[in-house]
């Protein structure tokens, strides 16, 4: 999508752009989380520490990322 297209759609308050942004934020959060968890594991963080940092239980983070 080029800049002209995009500004045109913004001017017209195309809800597809705003809704896509929300979906993209969710995807971004998931991808950044996956990268950060992998890095924390490499550096010796426990599942418990990672869970605490993410605000979730040790079990749920381990179920998602544990091998």
């Amino acid at each position: 999508m080029n800049a002209g297209d995009l500004s045109e759609r913004l001017r017209s308050h195309d809800p597809a752009v705003g809704l896509r942004a929300v979906g993209a934020l969710h995807r971004l959060a998931e991808q950044v989380e996956a990268a950060a968890v992998a890095r924390a594991r490499e550096q010796g963080w426990s599942w418990e520490q990672i869970g605490d940092a993410l605000g979730v239980s040790r079990q749920s983070v381990h179920a998602k990322y544990g091998k």
């Binding site: 999508m1 995009l6 913004l10 809800p15 597809a16 752009v17 705003g18 809704l19 896509r20 942004a21 979906g23 993209a24 934020l25 969710h26 995807r27 971004l28 959060a29 998931e30 991808q31 950044v32 989380e33 996956a34 990268a35 950060a36 992998a38 890095r39 179920a63 998602k64 990322y65």
Partner: protein
Amino acid sequence: MFEQFAAEARATVASALEETTLRGDRRIGTEHLLLGVLHDPGAVRALGTDLETARSALDALDRSALAVVGIDVQGIERAPVPASRKRTPFTSGARAVLPRALAETKKARSRRITPEHLLLALLDCERPDPAAELLAELDIDRTAVRARLTQPG
């Protein structure tokens, strides 16, 4: 429904699921089905694009949408999301593609749903459907693709 799927079309749905989780999405949408279809060489030929190009186009759509809300994703460390153990349902848009694919199968007097039938059904999606957005971003001529898919031989 899935018992009418040819092995290749089952593989398409499995690939769509894989694309969904890799991206960190919670439901299989029409855009994931389109990426799934692009795992099939016949569909790649008909569409005149490939999986990597389509994945990048989808990322480009996300990047522009994020730019709108003031987020620049350049240089952010990201990783593919591991497969979830939870069931990944279809979006209602993706669910609606399945009976249309079956209709394409009947039109072609074929017994099983193939990736090409799924693709024909996806080509009928209209904006704001995500597959339609992706086809537009890829600048794909749907009429030409439909002709390539339905011409005999």
